[in-house]
């Protein structure tokens, strides 16, 4: 596979074309907008919590295939997980897309997120992949302003 094919794997293209959880949660506990001023990607992530468990999570917005697929995969993976698990996944995901070393134990937790392994070959696209996650992090840390990747 070429680097481009590794970046745009079928699963990513599928999540871009048919994003999962692509809706607003009307009675969300928290929501936050994430924005990348460089390319104009803009998403709002919604979270409904049950204690510290993510009961429901969704997003709306627009941007490139990488950012949209990332939001879609993120939301489908985090439903039912604890906030702590979500934070842990972001740490591993961040290592994955920036090309840092990942232990076998960490790799097991990645699951579907593994499809973003191609991102690390494209430094200009790391922000696209991590924008939804940064937005979620902002929600967890209870920021109520727009999160920017800049």
């Amino acid at each position: 596979m070429s680097e481009i094919q590794t970046l745009y794997q079928d699963l990513i293209l599928d999540h871009n074309k048919n994003p999962r959880n692509f809706r607003k949660i009307e009675n969300a506990d928290r929501f936050l907008e994430g924005y990348n001023p460089l390319c104009g990607d803009r998403y709002t992530v919604y979270v409904k919590l049950n204690g510290d468990i993510v009961d429901d999570i969704s997003f709306v917005g627009s941007g490139c295939a990488i950012s949209k697929a990332s939001a879609s995969v993120m939301t489908s993976m985090l439903k039912g997980k604890t906030i702590h698990e979500a934070q842990e996944l972001f740490t591993i995901f961040h290592k994955l897309v920036t090309g840092e070393h990942i232990s076998n134990q960490e790799r097991e937790k990645l699951g579907k997120l593994e499809v973003f392994s191609g991102v690390s070959a494209f430094p200009t696209r790391v922000k696209c992949a991590s924008l939804p996650w940064h937005t979620l992090k902002g929600i967890i840390e209870d920021k109520n302003t727009v999160v920017s990747t800049e």
Partner: protein
């Protein structure tokens, strides 16, 4: 080959003048450089001029009594004369060196603007502007409680002159418009705009950042009051640009930055400012850059420009037809008068993804809002992919672009 006293334009010879154009990138892919609106490549003579200056002529200007300083000063001032003649200014006093188009606009806003704009006054710009010709005026309007008025445009990206005419009032203090849009390529009717504005007694600033590479600008024929441009968008070095100002207006303006070179005498009680243009050139300037700009102008003016203009027109027509013919591709910016800028969208594929895949093929384009968010908003889109051409761009490179777009569609299975 020379024809009369002009060098005959031959695309292959011209390409040999630009060393970077024969380089490879991304593991041996041929470089297809289609990002000329962001910055152009530099011919060997400009590159050599930088090295030569630092190797053999480096000194500060207007200061030393020694021979090197004399040489550096002479070279620097020679560039000013080259610029003067290039834009047909009346006098060298009207040619001020800046860091670029952005600084030129900020200079006029901070001096002419601050001195002339009062509460409820109006400044007119257009919907096509680059952020650098929006934000300085916005800040000035905020500071002075003045209003910013916007000349609207149509679906092709052409300004509506009738609306512009209606917009001018006794309160209009300045019109600031682009000559060519970096996002769409639209060439605006500057001559008419100046005539209309002058009929209302309003001076005009023209942002020629995207114009200088493509056609000659004559400030007297157009009767322009202020003109700004950047050297790096016309084969010169980065970090240097020009503000042309009508002498009678420049004389009334307070200084911009203050410090060395811009003064005639300083005591702790009082400072006498230097004469034009030095009054607006505080501190040690980008001497090598200014000299490089002069060399770039000499490079450009060795050609008979009408031949190049014809070539560029053919190139843009070819590119437009080829790209438009691809299924699912839409061109953004279809003005009748355009420079070599092709902004486009591929259905259901974000420009950022297009840019990455083209880059993998060695094709350099820009993806984004091109520092012209209001233009994007006008078309209801967040971004475009932009291919922009120069006189050294070839039809073959456009064919690469077309193949690249097909590749993008292939990757996305559309």
């Amino acid at each position: 080959m020379l024809l009369g006293n002009k060098r005959l334009f031959s695309i292959s010879e011209v390409r040999d003048d630009f060393p970077i154009l024969s380089k490879t990138i991304r593991n041996g892919k041929r470089l297809i450089y289609l990002d000329n609106a962001a910055t152009t490549q530099k011919p060997q003579c400009v590159i050599d001029s930088q090295r030569h200056f630092y190797e053999s002529e480096n000194a500060n200007i207007h200061r030393g009594v020694h021979a090197l300083s004399e040489i550096a000063t002479e070279k620097y001032e020679r560039s000013r004369e080259l610029v003067r003649s290039f834009i047909n200014a009346r006098s060298r006093r009207e040619v001020i060196f800046t860091r670029g188009a952005t600084e030129g606009i900020n200079l006029v806003a901070a001096t002419f603007g601050r001195a002339n704009v009062q509460e409820n006054d109006e400044i007119v710009i257009s919907h096509l502007e680059h952020h650098s010709n929006i934000v300085p005026w916005q800040l000035l309007c905020q500071e002075k409680s003045a209003k910013l008025r916007i000349i609207p445009m149509n679906e092709n990206g052409e300004l509506l002159l009738d609306e512009f005419t209606k917009m001018l009032t006794k309160r209009t203090k300045l019109v600031a418009v682009t000559y060519a849009s970096n996002a769409l390529g639209t060439v605006t009717p500057v001559k008419e705009i100046v005539q209309i504005a002058h009929a209302h007694g309003v001076p005009v600033l023209v942002d020629a950042a995207q114009a200088m590479l493509h056609f000659r600008v004559d400030v007297q024929a157009l009767d322009i009051d202020f003109l700004v441009f950047s050297a790096h968008k016309m084969c010169g070095p980065t970090g240097v640009g020009v503000l042309y100002g009508r002498e009678s207006i420049l004389n009334t303006m307070p200084p911009y930055q203050s410090g060395g070179d811009m003064i005639r005498s300083v005591t702790f009680e009082k400072t006498l400012f230097n004469e034009l243009p030095y009054k607006f050139e505080a501190g040690t300037p980008n001497i090598a850059g200014v000299i490089g700009l002069g060399v770039a102008i000499e490079y450009l003016t060795q050609f008979d420009w009408s031949t190049i203009a014809m070539y560029e027109k053919e190139l843009l027509t070819y590119a437009t037809e080829q790209v438009k013919a691809i299924n699912g591709v839409r061109i953004i910016g279809t003005a009748a008068e355009k420079v070599g800028v092709l902004s486009f969208l591929i259905e259901n594929i974000h420009p950022h993804d297009v840019g990455t895949i083209l880059d993998e093929e060695g094709i350099a384009v820009r993806a984004g809002h091109h520092c012209a968010q209001p233009v994007m908003e006008h078309f209801g889109i967040p971004a475009t992919t932009r291919a922009s051409f120069a006189f050294y761009t070839t039809k073959e490179e456009i064919d690469y672009l077309v193949r690249g777009i097909h590749k993008v569609k292939e990757v996305f299975h559309v």
